[in-house]
């Protein structure tokens, strides 16, 4: 009997077509792949978003940490999943723009369906508080006079790596790159005198008491209102670190819409705002249409930028 009625239900669902199926979405927990380890930057913000979306959708979303290789392992797993809306991924800019332009990966921009962007963090060029350098020009002059200027940041292909390379390229100098890690590790290298500068999140300046020299993003930030942008200083280097949700390509439009609007509600959630602000994120929501356009631009920009700044690019 039970089997018969189940079959009956299935037949009705099949007959009424896709909308009926979608009306039930989500009927089981949605897995959200966070492609970095627990406790990482992406993990903290990813979990905050997942909690807020859980409330917004009235459904269960489960964070899954698939760590490794600059986030590419997790996003590759997500991109290869069934496009049914039950496995989506949360990624920062580098994982979905720089990495696929840098190495052959099982995914690129055409394998992903952007869902929404939630944060867009400004980056800054900063040095140790007791550093002899007081401006970007000081750094450049030192580099030109043959001094070894060491820039610190995450693994090759991370945003600090790209940003320092773009800066050096704009001024026609070269920095030595020390891939000691981002965030706290970069701050340790600066404070301990191992490295000269970091081109990393602007929030690090107040977090670790660093000396900011310039903002490396398009506009000045409220966090450091007196610090000029590199563009104001005459060089068009503007990179920021954004975070967004993605689904595998070919995910039904209705599901993407539902996820995108839930994400829009989530970013308004007071708890999410409080948590993200405390964790030094600059919130910026883009819905899936705007984000898709933005993502394409960012992807193309990264593809064009990498060869000009001397970072090896895949064939």
């Amino acid at each position: 009997m039970k089997i018969l009625s189940t079959l009956g239900c299935a037949a009705v669902v099949a007959a009424t077509g896709a909308t009926a199926v979608l009306a039930e979405y989500p009927e089981k927990p949605i897995e959200v792949i966070v492609p970095f380890g627990a406790g990482s930057n992406s993990d903290t913000s990813g979990r905050l978003l997942i909690n807020a979306m859980r409330k917004a959708m009235g459904a269960d979303l489960v964070p899954i940490n698939v760590d490794g290789a600059g986030g590419t392992i997790g996003i590759a797993q997500m991109a290869r999943s069934k496009p049914d809306g039950y496995r989506i991924g949360y990624a920062p800019i580098a994982t979905v723009t720089v990495q696929p332009n840098l190495r052959p990966l099982p995914y690129d921009n055409t394998s992903l369906a952007p869902v929404c962007m939630v944060a867009n963090n400004p980056t800054a060029i900063s040095v140790a508080p007791d550093s002899p350098y007081n401006s970007v020009q000081d750094l450049i002059d030192a580099a030109k006079s043959g001094e070894q200027i060491i820039a610190v940041g995450g693994a090759p292909g991370s945003m600090p790596h790209i940003t320092q390379a773009a800066l050096a390229n704009a001024y026609g100098v070269t920095f030595t790159y020390l891939p000691a890690g981002g965030g706290g590790k970069a701050a340790t290298a600066l404070l301990g005198g191992e490295a000269t500068l970091a081109a990393d999140a602007a929030a690090m300046v107040s977090q670790y008491d660093l000396k900011p020299l310039a903002i490396a993003s398009a506009e000045r930030t409220e966090m450091l209102p007196d610090v000029p942008t590199l563009t104001e200083l005459g060089h068009d280097v503007s990179l920021s670190v954004w975070f967004g949700l993605f689904a595998p390509k070919d995910t039904p439009e209705e599901i993407l819409d539902q996820l995108s609007s839930a994400c829009g509600q989530a970013v308004e959630d007071p708890e999410f705002v409080k948590g993200m602000t405390a964790a030094n994120y600059t919130l910026q929501y883009l819905d899936r249409t705007t984000f898709a356009q933005f993502y394409e631009e960012e992807y193309a920009r990264s593809r064009d930028l990498l060869p000009t700044i001397g970072v090896a690019v895949k064939d």
Partner: protein, 494 residues
């Protein structure tokens, strides 16, 4: 030390809700720690969303309780079924498992619990009095200093090689080679991935550890089946050794606590290395070195005091600088930030009550771990009354599940199985397994610190000797390596 704020902190701790949350968290941490594959970091990440609805002090209490008890929890399966629940307790299995097998599981659990609590409390005291000063040490430890320390740490391979240094070195090399798989963090080049995309993330310590220790144990006992019940369990439970038995191990207890605290303060070394190094140091200086690996309580104490002492140590740079000492403290740091507490230079001046509360909570968490551990051990050690075949079947299931949940990667399952087969052959060849783990966990920081050191010295390795800290560690290393040779030469002359 500001005593008014300490009193205020004790007042915050005395809140019944906070205490109740901490008891629950201690249980949870212990269980998650005991499940292979789900370590301290997972335990903290699981409760992280819950802390959002708690007050900051409740959240800190919960997280410290989880942090401390999960490190301890990993040692329970290490002793009972030779499956380290967390990588930190790999060294505990070396003597804990033989001890349990000889019918002294209750004693083994007793040694572990008390040694863990002492190590944890020791590091808490260090944190309480010296955090701001020691945090500066962490900053001074750059790539070159880390390299020198790791070179020294690698000498411990000799001590865990069970009288056959050549085989030990071979095992250490296997570990180092395995650590090179994956994307090279400095150049971004893929190494030894053979075109397999998932291998580009590198091998993970958990599947290797589980394969080498747990699965190979299952294979070995399948090769030589034992019928009936595993251990000769006389009394299931929990037994703390009488005071006079603690006397001979007190030096080991202190040494391991210092090693754990120190390595905890330094970023990038971690509790797994601390317990292995603590174990090796104890063995090198013990009067009863020949019984290490056969159920010597000194080995258990050495490992457990060290890995729990890391907890307080790792919190030093976390609280004083806002720079996490390891992945676990990184999660705690994230949680604190969400609660509007920003660790760093200003925390100690700005909110002394809260800082003192962390110390008090750590102390309470360690005491709770002792009590909860003593009670739960009654239940844990009954595992040994199960038929051998049943336990081994369970170990296989736990091993594979534990390896998979680490990163949700199929490759990790294969790594576990291959490591299990490798472990079986190495057992037959009498090659010690612990050096593989030491080589694996130190291999990556060894290579990275060397190469980073070369980058900042502009490819001039001689400039490494400009660092006094590095010179000190190089000198100790040279002495440790040369000493046995000199002693042998002198003995031959007489």
């Amino acid at each position: 030390m500001d005593f008014t704020s300490l009193v205020a902190a004790i007042g915050m701790q005395a809140d019944p809700t906070t205490l109740a949350i901490m008891v629950l968290a201690t249980f949870l941490g212990m269980i998650v720690g005991a499940l292979p594959g789900l370590g301290t970091v997972t335990a903290l990440a699981i409760v992280l969303p819950f802390t959002f609805v708690l007050s900051p002090t409740q959240a800190i209490g919960m997280l410290t309780a989880i942090y401390v008890s999960s490190v301890y929890g990993g040692s329970v399966p290490a002793i009972l079924i030779n499956v380290p629940g967390t990588p930190q307790s790999a060294a505990t299995a070396l003597d804990g498992y033989p001890m349990a097998q000889s019918g002294r599981a209750a004693e083994a659990l007793g040694w572990v619990t008390v040694a863990s609590a002492i190590g944890g409390i020791f590091s808490m005291i260090v944190l309480m009095f010296l955090a701001p000063q020691l945090a500066q040490v962490a900053v001074q430890f750059g790539s070159i200093e880390t390299f020198a320390l790791i070179v020294f740490s690698l000498t411990t391979i000799a001590w865990v090689s069970a009288g056959n240094p050549l085989k030990g070195l071979l095992a250490g090399l296997i570990g180092i080679v395995m650590s090179t798989v994956g994307i090279d963090a400095l150049s971004g080049v893929e190494r030894f991935t053979f075109g397999n995309f998932e291998l580009s993330a590198g091998l993970h310590v958990v599947p290797i550890l589980i394969g080498l220790f747990a699965l190979s144990e299952v294979f070995a006992s399948a090769a030589q089946p034992v019928s009936g019940v595993t251990g000769k369990v006389v009394s299931a439970g929990f037994k703390v050794a009488p005071l006079q038995e603690w006397k001979p191990v007190r030096k080991t207890l202190l040494r391991s606590s210092v090693i754990g605290t120190f390595l905890g303060i330094l970023p990038g070394v971690g509790a797994t290395a601390a317990s292995l190094i603590g174990y090796a140091q104890a063995r090198s200086s013990s009067d009863s070195a020949q019984s290490f690996g056969k159920g010597n309580p000194e080995g258990i104490v050495a490992s457990e005091a060290a890995n729990n002492a890391v907890t307080g140590g790792a919190l030093v740079p976390t609280l004083a600088l806002g720079i996490p000492g390891d992945a676990a403290t990184a999660v705690m740091l994230g949680a604190l930030v969400v609660h509007g507490i920003t660790p760093g230079v200003n925390l100690f001046q700005g909110s002394p009550d809260l800082v003192n509360f962390v110390f008090v909570a750590l102390l309470v968490a360690n005491v709770m771990m002792l009590i909860v551990g003593a009670l739960a051990a009654q239940m844990f050690s009954r595992v040994l009354k199960l038929p051998h075949a049943l336990i081994m079947g369970g170990v296989v299931a736990l091993s594979l599940a534990g390896s998979y949940v680490t990163r949700f990667s199929m490759v990790d399952l294969w790594v576990t199985v291959i490591a299990g087969i490798l472990g079986l052959f190495l057992r037959f060849a009498n090659v010690p397994l612990a050096p593989i783990v030491i080589g694996f966990i130190l291999g990556q920081p060894f290579e990275e610190s060397l190469r980073k050191g070369l980058i900042i010295t502009d490819m001039q390795p001689l400039r490494f000797f400009n660092s006094p800290i590095a010179v000190l560690f190089f000198a100790i290393t040279a002495a440790v390596v040369a000493w046995p040779l000199l002693a042998k030469a002198r003995a031959a002359r007489h």
